[in-house]
């Protein structure tokens, strides 16, 4: 009989992890229960709410829709590691400053989707930001402060680029 466990090896927030995992365990449960990174949250277990979103090999994925064994050999970044990404750090500060979170349960996913939006060159257009975040459920804020926070990071970054361009000419 085939074992219901497999050994996997992956990098999580820069740390090499080697563990044996039940093949049916999804990535977010593995990260929370076996790696001890409880910052990613489980809201619906069916890919709808977005609270478990993590970065796997540069792509934002739902941690509840991916099995841990599928992440074998991958590089994974969770909310605990987002500060290592320049955009992530800026967003964390902006979320705090704009009060773009209340209970904080959706925040890991909101940050992940916002990083994705900004790193893909998203604009400050509020409708575009809202469209991009529409796969992430937040019950507390009403979303406006989250849009404010994302827009503020883009504005500051754009201003910085313009300034440095201005300085070089």
């Amino acid at each position: 009989m085939m074992s219901d466990k497999l050994d996997i090896e992956l990098i999580v927030n820069g740390e090499q992890i080697q563990q044996s995992v039940l093949v049916r365990t999804n990535l977010v449960d593995f990260l929370r229960d076996q790696v001890g990174l409880t910052g990613s949250h489980v809201g619906c277990e069916q890919g709808v709410c977005g609270a478990c979103t993590v970065e796997v090999d540069g792509v934002m994925v739902r941690g509840c829709l991916m099995l841990a064994v599928q992440a074998n050999g991958s590089t994974v970044t969770t909310i605990e590691g987002f500060a290592g990404n320049t955009t992530g750090k800026k967003l964390q500060n902006a979320f705090s400053e704009h009060n773009a979170l209340q209970c904080g349960y959706c925040t890991p996913g909101m940050l992940a989707s916002s990083i994705e939006y900004i790193d893909r060159g998203g604009s400050t257009d509020r409708d575009s930001i809202r469209q991009h975040l529409s796969g992430n459920y937040c019950r507390c804020t009403g979303y406006q402060a989250i849009v404010d926070a994302v827009a503020s990071v883009i504005e500051i970054t754009d201003a910085g680029i313009n300034q440095s361009e201005g300085a070089s000419t």
Partner: protein
């Protein structure tokens, strides 16, 4: 800013300043501390087998196959779990006549709603527990479910609870003035509508969660829960486990949303505590999303027949409502399921000058999930009924909807006022709020644009609401009826040896910023920098006794307790400083952590120096000085049953007459919650509240079929507002501080949810009016709107 100048209005005051939440930093870095994050040695996990039927006899239960699953620790049925407890009954004595049978965690013999827990499996992991649940063999004899509240009330309906003669749980009548004579006057136009408000629920993103530890050595129980009222849960658990209250510790750390959902006695959570006791191991239960939809309390579910009479001049002559509401098979414990109906009877038409008012409420048992208090209890229904009737009546007599409010709103200089339903109002600003709203939304221009756009087939609507909100409740809300729910709160403020302030308070944090405003009040009143304040909430072992956070009471009641405690401590510290400095306390003050001379603000002694003298070098103090660098104060509202707030809101929508879709273009709020401690946090409470209100008005409904089966118990099927559909929400404040406290703060947490549905309903009907269609059912789904638009067309 409209109130008189106050010492809190001075420059650099922490009160009135939008400081960022210190807690937020931790949460954005993934360092939260939610119940599911707790890992304890030997901890095991619970899952439940729940009734697939809305109403059924349980003929047999076979748990042997489940028990044989490797990793399963125990399988419990009602006989093991229920016998450990005294049953609970969801009644309150001040809701006269309310009845409900005793309840226990697991269904025994008969299951009364789909989702009711029947068997509990405890295993080494949740996954194993769920595997084993699949193997529990249950035989049922299905019974006729009572789903429709009106049917359940009929004389020939089967009766759900054998001990009662019918399915009525409670009824109430209000009759003030002479309603019939007023409706019959020749100069009065009468408008009647039947409103339906669907069931919806809180959908907290973090589901209900508990971890329970039980120590047999001293029979003590630790209940880690995601919730709002630790002391209430402590009292409930102690009573029903028959434990001394002091042996029960309830801890609520980070809470992933609550909105009134996590403040009740749920059988699965109590069963988890019983399992921890029986197995002498920590047990964790985290509801999954299906369990959340099926068993988190639902709210609303009201059918209301409303009738308004207005004179030709536009004065409200009379208002009457008949409310019928289904609450599930039991009244929830300990807050009961009659409060929402009671609020609706109390609050419908409350912003207006109405002498003739009649209201009847019937609360009915049915075979659906239990209904209880969710954010803005009763308000969205009461405000929608009154303001929809008012706007429809205004249109009948050809009056503008703003003008009819101007004629009928309680005047800002009329207070105190007692409403027809007996509510005591004071210090409200309906008129000022309405005028501010009209100005902010540019009402006249919007009307012009609306008219112009209609020519090109674009149907936009503008809808308003004037509202009141119940906040800062006194013991008249629950305590008077016998519930272990405290209306008072306490705060302890302590100065440590390094000059920092530690505040512990009985109100709780679910993301509103409770801990932040506690720190702001303490910092301002005591005179220390915000960065030197540490706040503790949510633990019955370490905070003073109090009610917690619900009914928009945290800032108003907890905030005042903090103010009183910080003020008392300041006076104690100044006495010590005066002794050290050989002067009198009235010549000293504390500013930014330093005791200064009042006369010239010159530094006399820093708080850390003072702390070190008191704690380490007491020999330097005169022997008759006995310093107490700690103070505790409690506060409750005494002059009024509730401290009401008021507000005015408006929605601007566009209805697509081809698809029935409603787009919310804009939303405006003018809110008067008294003194604003942190404008940013208040605005965010209002925005989040409005969006939940938009959800109830347009999207959210727990859909049951005729057999009592919940049809849409997933996040993909139960629609909630997402970022793309929501507008930016514009907010302005009128500040009329309440004179019931020094702080002057009223509540703000529920206003948005209470008012938004009414404004949306009016806006949609305003858009539909030229098409001779109207809707009085929430949520206003595209399908329902299309039916209203096209059913009458042949």
């Amino acid at each position: 800013m409209s109130g008189p100048l106050h010492e809190f209005d001075k420059p650099n005051s922490y009160i009135g300043r939008s400081v960022a939440r210190p807690d937020a930093k931790r949460l954005v870095e993934g360092q939260g501390n939610y119940v599911d994050d707790i890992q304890l040695p030997r901890m095991i996990h619970a899952a439940f087998v729940r009734s697939p039927y809305a109403h059924a006899e349980i003929v047999s239960i076979d748990t042997s196959a489940a028990l044989a699953v490797p990793g399963v620790v125990a399988v419990f049925t009602a006989s093991e779990i229920n016998s450990q407890l005294l049953p609970w009954v969801g009644t309150l004595t001040h809701l006269k006549g309310l009845r409900s049978p005793p309840q226990l965690p697991l269904a025994d013999q008969v299951a009364h709603w789909q989702g009711e827990p029947i068997v509990m499996v405890v295993a080494q992991s949740r996954a194993i527990a769920e595997d084993a649940c699949e193997l529990v063999a249950l035989d049922f004899n299905p019974l006729t479910p009572l789903c429709d509240a009106a049917e359940a009330l009929k004389n020939d309906s089967p009766v759900m609870h054998a001990e009662y003669d019918n399915n009525l749980a409670w009824e109430k009548k209000v009759d003030a003035g002479d309603v019939d004579t007023a409706f019959n006057r020749s100069d009065v136009t009468v408008v009647q509508r039947t409103f339906q408000f669907g069931r919806h629920t809180g959908v907290t993103l973090e589901a209900r969660s508990v971890v329970v530890e039980y120590q047999t050595t001293d029979e003590s129980l630790v209940f880690h829960y995601s919730g709002q009222a630790p002391h209430m849960m402590q009292a409930v658990i102690a009573k029903h486990f028959q434990l001394p209250e002091e042996n029960v510790r309830v801890i609520a750390r980070d809470v992933g949303g609550s909105f009134g959902i996590k403040i009740h006695t749920y059988g699965d959570e109590i069963a988890t505590a019983v399992a921890a006791k029986l197995l002498q191991r920590p047990v964790k239960f985290i509801a999954d999303r299906l369990e959340s939809f099926a068993t988190d309390i639902h709210a609303r579910d009201h059918t209301i027949k409303g009738k308004i009479g207005v004179t030709n001049a536009g004065d409200i002559a009379a208002l009457s409502i008949d409310d019928l509401t289904g609450i599930g098979p039991y009244s929830m414990y300990p807050r009961t399921s009659a409060i929402e109906c009671n609020q609706i009877l109390n609050l419908t038409g409350a912003p207006y000058n109405i002498k003739n008012y009649r209201a009847n409420g019937s609360v009915v048992f049915q075979n659906k999930n239990l209904m209880c208090q969710y954010r803005a209890v009763g308000h969205p229904v009461a405000m929608a009924v009154a303001d929809s009737l008012l706007e429809d009546a205004a249109n009948e007599i050809g009056m503008d909807v703003v003008d009819i409010r101007r004629r009928n709103l309680l005047a800002d200089d009329a207070y105190p006022v007692t409403s027809a339903s007996g509510m005591k109002f004071s210090e409200l600003s309906h008129q000022q709020s309405l005028e501010r709203l009209v100005e902010m939304m540019n009402y006249d221009q919007l009307r012009k644009d609306q008219k112009e756009l209609r020519k090109s087939g674009i149907y936009r609507g503008i809808g308003l609401v004037s509202m009141v909100e119940v906040t800062n409740p006194s013991p008249m809300f629950y305590g008077i009826g016998g519930a272990p729910i405290s209306a008072q709160d306490g705060a302890t403020v302590r100065l440590d040896a390094a000059g920092a302030l530690h505040v512990s308070c009985s109100i709780t944090e679910q993301g509103q910023g409770t801990n932040t405003i506690i720190a702001q009040v303490a910092a301002e009143v005591f005179g220390v920098g915000l960065e030197r304040i540490k706040v503790t909430t949510g633990d019955t072992a370490t905070v003073p006794y109090g009610g917690g956070t619900w009914a928009s009471r945290g800032a108003g009641i907890g905030g005042e307790a903090v103010l009183l405690a910080a003020s008392a401590l300041k006076s104690q510290v100044l006495d010590v400083a005066a002794s050290i400095l050989q002067t009198t306390a009235d010549t000293l003050d504390i500013v930014s952590g330093v005791v200064v001379s009042k006369a010239d603000n010159s530094e006399r002694i820093t708080l850390d120096d003072l702390g070190r003298i008191v704690y380490y070098r007491g020999n330097e103090l005169p022997s008759d000085i006995k310093p107490e660098l700690i103070a505790t104060r409690h506060y409750r509202v005494t002059d009024f049953p509730f401290v009401f707030t008021n507000g005015a809101m408006a929605a601007h929508v566009e209805v697509d007459t081809e698809t029935g879709f409603v787009k919310v273009l804009d939303f405006w709020v003018v809110e008067d919650c008294g003194r604003v401690i942190n404008p940013k946090l208040v605005d965010e409470q209002i925005r989040g509240g409005v969006v939940q209100g938009i959800g109830g008005a347009l999207y959210e409904e727990c859909l049951y079929d005729d057999e009592g089966q919940l049809l849409n118990a997933t996040m993909a099927d139960y629609l909630v507002p997402m970022a793309a559909e929501m507008p930016d929400i514009h907010i302005a404040h009128i500040e009329t501080p309440t004179s019931t406290s020094t702080l002057g703060a009223k509540g703000a947490g529920e206003a948005g949810t209470g008012g938004a549905p009414a404004a949306l309903l009016n806006a949609v009907n305003d858009a539909l009016r030229p098409l001779d269609a109207s809707i009085h059912q929430m949520p206003m789904t595209p399908e329902r709107i299309l039916k209203e638009l096209y059913t009458n067309l042949s």
